[in-house]
Symmetry: C2
């Protein structure tokens, strides 16, 4: 018989984001920008010592353990930190909370594909200024009237990083809009916009535990901004789901933040491997914008990206490829371990004669 | 200087739900309907054996481990199960996905307070038929034109349970609307509406791990319904945040579902304590609708609920009280351990001469 047409009529139909493949077999997995190294060693200890009886109780809705540790790490007040279930949860809540103007929000045409999905989901008008041929944002595009601005820095999937002077210029031209800088990959790049927070009360910086902190499996992200913006975010969160981060996310997340030395070492290793990989790619004839994330966005003049993507996949090496306008000749290659990159380049050297 | 008025204008202002207090001191905590007993013993083992290195990877976005275990438990197909970060996450997503009509959705005037908050958050029109004096729903109220229906069974905070014949009658009169039965407390009550799913493709049943499964701290909830409704829910979820349940929720949740014997024993103990507590309350002169959840909604003819609430709190016994029309003379008392209830009744016997 099927569902009644009037039921169907009232259902919100969306085109879902398709996440990168999570193959069940053992493969060289360079397709979802995960960190190749394990989380801080203390995380294991914290889990081992956890008293599971406590699970019968709700977690702390304010997630104080984690917000305090993050506040200490970033030298802000805990009321300036808003944690969520991955930066996707935090960003989606930011869209719902801050982007309620009739004017379109602005984000680049080539960027994290969730922005468009959230805008459509919440029926927020949006406009997408085009990146230039080098995949750089044109700052003047962000001087036009808008209902908010969001972009990643470094951008995804291009790995292009803009200096703080660029961010500050956009903030300066948009005192009447909330500007969100999505810094999922900033630890691999350069300065964070966090240092601008004191001066710009319209700035929100969003970061994640999924990349530099090696904890994609734990789902933790956070926004940092001025207390008033964070309070509005909390109000919406408390009306949604008071208890979002579970007890284990709180204790493991806090422990990971405590270990600054491990965090910094982990980042250094990945940057080192990335710089080496850039050299190898260049030698093979690939072109790419200077990569400042834990991935490289590369194209080859003589081989179609789709062909390379499929050949790599056949060899159990997974990278990411989108069949979209302007980027279909590019592969996004996550920086893995030295060993994983060696296998990748052994294959490519053989394939690209 | 403060945030620019144009920024403030575009912020979504909501009145957040205020969750029950989570006191940091050791108190008799009968205020948030948590389970007084620990989760299934296997959960501890699963955590101990977990290889933390895996946390560097994203969790399975389809949460297969958990949906398969739930499908086995409830004898449905895994495509009929939608898991989320607590039933609040699942319910909120249901509002967003299914309640997009111009017509008002319907839910009782006295019920889980989040329904109103979500409706306002998503700007869904709603109407709240009044419960009768015994806090029962009048079925005819749900025959009117609507854009969807939601109610808990047993209802909260009243603990009143409606038989399946009542649910089926509402389904029968609403073939053109999605009807959501929120069964957070059903395991303490009677039959679940799950057995109606085959016959009503407009029915969604939502349950949680926070009550009968003793895992409020883990944040797991789920909806079960026909595959098509579940697919729409997944589409919206994948456009929100592909990876919601973290790896530990998946393995601990699956383990808890496997242990049916523990689950049933846990429920039996709580029901036993509840039935005894009803006798004690009646002896003390309290009146209450027949309680079918893990809490009792009680009023006393000679003592104001607020007075009792504050006196109990002073004695480090936390129960829940709302200063709202129609229910301000009631206390919601969670069923704790035998020992916790003894302490509660020792106090009340002394207080109520």
């Amino acid at each position: 018989m099927g569902i009644h047409p009037n039921v169907l009529k009232n259902i919100r139909h969306v085109t879902p984001y398709v996440p990168g493949e999570q193959p069940q077999r053992k493969v060289i997995k360079l397709n979802t920008n995960e960190n190749p190294y394990p989380p801080a060693p203390g995380v294991r200890k914290v889990l081992e010592e956890f008293h599971t009886d406590a699970l019968r109780l709700y977690p702390d809705p304010a997630a104080e353990l984690l917000t305090e540790e993050l506040a200490r790490f970033y030298e802000v007040e805990k009321e300036q930190v808003f944690p969520g279930v991955g930066s996707d949860d935090v960003l989606s809540l930011c869209f719902l909370t801050f982007f309620n103007s009739e004017k379109p929000i602005l984000f680049p045409d080539i960027t994290y594909s969730f922005y468009k999905v959230w805008a459509e989901l919440y029926r927020i008008p949006y406009r997408c200024p085009k990146l230039d041929k080098e995949f750089r944002m044109n700052r003047a595009d962000y001087y036009q009237e808008n209902g908010g601005i969001i972009f990643p820095n470094p951008n995804a999937p291009t790995a292009v990083y803009e200096e703080l002077e660029f961010i500050e210029d956009i903030l300066e031209h948009n005192r009447e809009s909330v500007v969100i800088v999505d810094e999922a990959y900033v630890d691999f790049a350069g300065k964070s916009a966090l240092e601008l927070i004191e001066r710009y009360d319209n700035l929100l910086v969003v970061q994640t535990f999924s990349k530099a902190r090696s904890m994609a499996g734990m789902r933790i992200g956070y926004a940092i901004g001025n207390k008033e913006l964070i309070r509005y975010l909390n109000d919406v969160k408390y009306s949604f789901n008071s208890y979002t981060l579970n007890q284990l996310s709180l204790i493991c997340g806090a422990e990971a933040v405590r270990d600054r030395a491990y965090f910094e070492k982990n980042i250094r290793k990945i940057i080192q491997t990335r710089e080496k990989a850039k050299g190898e790619l260049a030698n093979l004839g690939f072109a790419f914008p200077d990569a400042k994330a834990n991935f490289i966005f590369a194209t080859h003049p003589d081989y179609s990206a789709e062909e390379l993507f499929l050949a790599l996949k056949k060899a159990d090496i997974y990278v990411r490829h989108w069949n979209s306008e302007r980027i279909k000749e590019y592969l996004r290659i996550t920086v893995g371990t030295e060993e994983e990159m060696r296998i990748l380049f052994d294959f490519l050297k053989h394939y690209i004669k």
